[in-house]
C-alpha cells in the first residue's frame, strides 16, 4: 500500500514533527476528509541517554508528545508522533503522512516538506554560524627570554 520507502517517510515525519505547529498550519491549512483512528492524544515519552555518552542506557527524563492516527477517504492510513502538547499539530502531521502515500505526494513534497526543510536548515545554520564565531583562536605571546 505504501508508495513511500521507509527512509523517505521517516525523513518526512521528522520534518513534520520538528516544524512549528503554526508554520505547518500556515503551509497546509485545509485538511481533507479523514477519520480519526487514534487520538489526537497527549502523553509522554521517556528520553534515554547513555552512560559516558556511549555506554549503557539510562533514563534522562520524559518529554511531552502528541500522537494521532488517521484514515483518509481513500483508505490510506497516516501516523504521527510530534514533540509537545499540540493535538492539532499531531493531527495535521498524520494527515500529511497519509497524503504523502497518495498521488498528491509530489505536490506536497514541494509545497510543504521542501519549505520546512529550507527553513529548518536556515535556522540551524544561523545558530551554527553564531557558535562558530565564538571559537577561540589561540596565539602564543613571545616570551622575553626567547626574544
Amino acid at each position: 500500500m505504501s508508495s513511500l520507502s521507509d527512509p523517505v517517510r521517516q525523513k518526512a515525519l521528522g520534518l513534520l514533527a520538528r516544524a512549528m505547529p503554526e508554520r505547518l498550519a500556515a503551509l497546509f491549512p485545509d485538511l481533507p476528509d479523514h477519520a480519526l483512528l487514534r487520538g489526537p492524544e497527549v502523553g509522554a515519552v521517556m528520553v534515554r541517554g547513555r552512560q559516558g555518552g556511549t555506554g549503557a542506557p539510562f533514563n534522562l527524563g520524559e518529554m511531552t508528545v502528541a500522537r494521532c492516527s488517521v484514515r483518509l477517504a481513500c483508505g490510506t492510513v497516516g501516523h504521527a508522533w510530534v514533540q509537545g502538547r499540540d493535538r492539532g499539530h499531531a493531527r495535521r502531521a498524520a494527515v500529511l503522512d497519509a497524503l504523502l502515500q497518495t498521488d498528491r505526494r509530489a505536490v506536497l513534497e514541494g509545497a510543504v516538506l521542501a519549505t520546512l526543510e529550507t527553513e529548518e536548515t536556515a535556522r540551524r545554520d544561523g545558530r551554527a554560524r553564531k557558535a562558530a564565531a565564538t571559537k577561540v583562536e589561540f596565539f602564543t605571546l613571545v616570551r622575553g627570554e626567547d626574544a
Binding site: G14, G43, D125
Partner: protein, 355 residues
C-alpha cells in the same frame, strides 16, 4: 493518631484569592506572558524542565508564572502534571556525539579537533550589573562565521589509546525510578536518573564537598557540550524509528585519575553528567557526584564522605520529596502537640514530687 477536623474553608478560599492578586502584582505593570518567560528566563525554564523531569518549555514557563518564580514550586507543578500523562514509550538513547553544539569546551586539550567553542556563556563576563538592561532596547545580532560541523568526543581520543576505561554500548533496559520505587543498592543507570532530576543546589554542594576533600575526586572536565540532539522513537504502528523532536541538553564528561588495581592497569576513569537544557553547573556537578559514587566498583577507599554514600545522596537529592516532608511540619499538628504537652506537664509534676 489522626483526627479529622473541619473548618477554614472560607479562609483557604480567601487566601488563594489573595495569592492570585499578589501573583499578578501591580496591575499598572504589564503582565508577563508565558512566551516572555520561555524566551527571556530560559535558564529558569531549563532548570524546571530538568528537575521536573519533563521536557516542555511552554509548560515549564507557565509553571514558573503560576509559582511566582519559586522554581521548586514550579518543579512540583511539573511533577504533578507528568503523573497525569500516559507513557507512550521510551526513546532510543540520544546520540550526543551528533549534537548540534552551540558550546563545546575542553579543559584537557587546548588544540582539539573542532576547537574550543564558547557559545552563549556567562564565563569571561565581569559579573557587573548591566544597567543598560533596565532600559528597553534592541540587541545587535551576534557575529557569525562559517559553521564548524560535528565535533568528535574528547574521551574518544583517550579511548583509542586505551588510556581511559571503556564505555561499551548495550541495549539493556534501564531501571526507572518513576515506575519502581528506588531501592538500594542502585546501579549506575538508576543513580544517573536520580542525579539528573536532583536538586541543583544539593548536587552542586556535594560536588563541591568532594573537591574540598570529602571523598576524593580530582577531575578534569574532558569535555562540556551544549546543543540540540534529535529524539528518535521506534513507532510500533510504522515499524521503524522516527525523529519526534529535538531537545537541548548539556553533557559533561570528566576524566579522573585511577591508579589501577590487581586486574586493571593505571588509566583514566569517567564521571558523566547529562541534563535537560542549558544547565552547565548542574551537568558538571552531576559528573563529579557520579564519579564519587563509583568508588566501590573501582576498588577505591570509602573515606566516609557524604558524597560516597549512595543512600545519603540518592535519598536526599529530590527537592520535591524533601519539600513535601519538610513543609508538612507547618500543617496542623494540634493533637500530636497536645499529647506532648501533657507528657511534659506530667514529667514536671513527677520531677517536682521526687525533689
Amino acid at each position: 493518631m489522626y483526627v479529622a477536623v473541619k473548618g477554614g474553608e472560607r479562609a483557604i478560599d480567601n487566601a488563594h484569592a489573595f495569592l492570585a492578586e499578589e501573583r499578578r502584582g501591580d496591575p499598572a505593570v504589564p503582565e508577563l506572558s508565558v512566551a516572555q518567560i520561555r524566551q527571556q528566563m530560559a535558564l529558569a525554564v531549563n532548570r524546571v524542565m530538568a528537575e521536573g523531569s519533563l521536557y516542555d518549555p511552554d509548560l515549564a514557563a507557565l509553571a514558573i508564572k503560576q509559582a511566582r518564580g519559586d522554581l521548586i514550586e514550579a518543579i512540583f507543578l511539573i511533577r504533578a502534571y507528568r503523573t497525569t500523562l500516559p507513557r507512550f514509550g521510551a526513546s532510543n538513547p540520544i546520540d550526543t556525539g551528533r549534537m548540534a553544539a552551540v558550546r563545546r569546551v575542553s579543559a584537557t586539550y587546548k588544540d582539539l579537533p573542532g576547537g574550543q567553542v564558547l557559545g552563549p556563556t556567562f564565563d569571561y563576563t565581569h559579573r557587573l550589573i548591566d544597567f543598560a538592561l533596565a532600559a528597553e532596547g534592541l540587541t545587535p545580532p551576534a557575529p557569525e562565521a562559517a559553521p564548524l560541523g560535528p565535533v568528535p568526543r574528547v574521551t574518544g581520543f583517550l579511548d583509542r589509546e586505551g588510556l581511559i576505561e571503556a564505555e561499551p554500548a548495550s541495549d539493556t533496559t534501564p531501571p526507572d525510578l518513576t515506575r519502581e520505587p528506588m531501592e538500594l543498592p542502585a546501579n549506575r543507570a538508576l543513580r544517573l536518573q536520580a542525579l539528573t532530576r536532583g536538586d541543583e543546589g544539593f548536587i552542586l554542594s556535594l560536588a563541591y564537598s568532594s573537591q574540598r576533600g570529602y571523598g576524593r575526586t580530582h577531575p578534569f572536565v574532558g569535555e562540556l557540550r551544549i546543543g540540540e540532539v534529535a529524539v528518535e522513537v521506534d513507532i510500533p504502528e510504522l515499524g521503524f524509528a522516527v525523529e519526534i523532536g529535538e531537545i537541548t541538553v548539556t553533557e559533561c564528561e570528566t576524566v579522573n585519575q585511577f591508579h589501577g588495581s590487581k586486574t586493571q592497569p593505571p588509566q583514566f576513569t569517567r564521571g558523566y553528567g547529562l541534563v535537560f537544557g542549558q544547565t552547565e553547573r548542574k551537568a558538571i556537578s552531576m559528573s563529579l557526584v557520579d564519579r564519587a559514587l563509583r568508588w566501590e566498583e573501582l576498588g577505591e577507599d570509602n573515606t566516609g564522605a557524604p558524597v560516597q554514600d549512595p543512600e545519603f545522596v540518592l535519598m536526599h537529592a529530590d527537592n520535591i520529596q524533601a519539600t513535601g516532608f519538610l513543609e508538612h511540619i507547618k500543617l496542623p499538628h494540634y493533637v500530636d502537640f497536645q499529647s506532648e504537652l501533657e507528657l511534659v506537664r506530667a514529667l514536671r509534676v513527677n520531677s517536682e514530687a521526687s525533689e
